[in-house]
């Protein structure tokens, strides 16, 4: 029973990963591709780790699998957020943009969106 649940979770993870990879390849601009890549790296990855954790749920192995899941859930959205911030600061805009609420906002100083106004941002 546990083996069947594990295989089902792994197949579900494979399906989500495949759909996400197709989305990275097919979506029109960078920000929608961020959505697809997050589907791979959070949805598919966490489902696959749940399936792997069910294969041998004892002690140190379960702890290590949960550690990998927690580390990935913290670091991967952070990296995608930093990448999207960097892409916006380089002038990459969504396809079909009709109104930009960030048009007059100063972004991407040396200390980020919420950083200091002055300082050494030259």
């Amino acid at each position: 029973m546990i083996g069947f649940a594990s295989e089902a979770l792994l197949w579900l993870a494979g399906a989500v990963t495949l759909v996400g990879a197709l989305g990275i390849l097919r979506f029109p601009d960078f920000y929608t591709r961020c959505h697809a890549a997050t589907m791979v790296s959070v949805g598919g990855f966490t489902l696959a780790l749940a399936g792997i954790a069910l294969q041998n749920p004892v002690g140190i192995y379960l702890f290590k699998v949960l550690l990998v899941a927690a580390v990935n859930l913290v670091t991967n959205p952070t990296a995608t957020h930093a990448l999207a911030d960097s892409a916006y600061s380089l002038g990459i805009r969504p396809a079909g943009l009709v109104r930009n609420d960030l048009a007059g906002v100063r972004v991407a100083g040396r200390s980020g969106i919420h950083g200091r106004k002055g300082g050494r941002s030259g």
């Binding site: 295989e7 792994l10 197949w11 993870a13 494979g14 399906a15 990963t17 495949l18 996400g20 990879a21 197709l22 990275i24 390849l25 960078f30 591709r33 961020c34 890549a37 791979v40 790296s41 598919g44 990855f45 696959a48 780790l49 792997i52 294969q55 041998n56 192995y61 290590k64 699998v65 550690l67 990998v68 580390v71 990935n72 670091t75 991967n76 952070t78 990296a79 995608t80 930093a82 990448l83 999207a84 911030d85 960097s86 892409a87 600061s89 380089l90 002038g91 990459i92 991407a108 100083g109 040396r110 941002s121 030259g122």
Partner: protein
């Protein structure tokens, strides 16, 4: 059998790395490829009983994060 599904996803992600018009698309696709590689390593760890691979996957996840963050911080426009 399920390994082929992840292999196909990895190939699609490699195609996205080659095709991506801007650098940000390439970095995003390489992060996704790193995740698919870690999933494949973990499935191998389960199938073959090589539980040492769990430690390797922790290291790979951290390296992927540090690499993506370094490229993102390096490539942003300086004012």
């Amino acid at each position: 059998m399920i390994e082929y599904l992840f292999a196909l996803s990895g190939l699609l992600t490699l195609a996205a790395i080659i095709r991506g018009p801007t650098f940000a698309d390439r970095v995003l696709a390489s992060g996704a490829f790193m995740n698919i590689a870690v999933i494949t390593i973990l499935i191998f760890a389960v199938r073959a009983g090589e539980w040492l691979c769990l430690d390797i996957s922790v290291v790979i996840i951290f390296m992927s994060f540090v690499g993506t963050l370094a490229i993102a911080r390096y490539a942003r426009r300086k004012r």
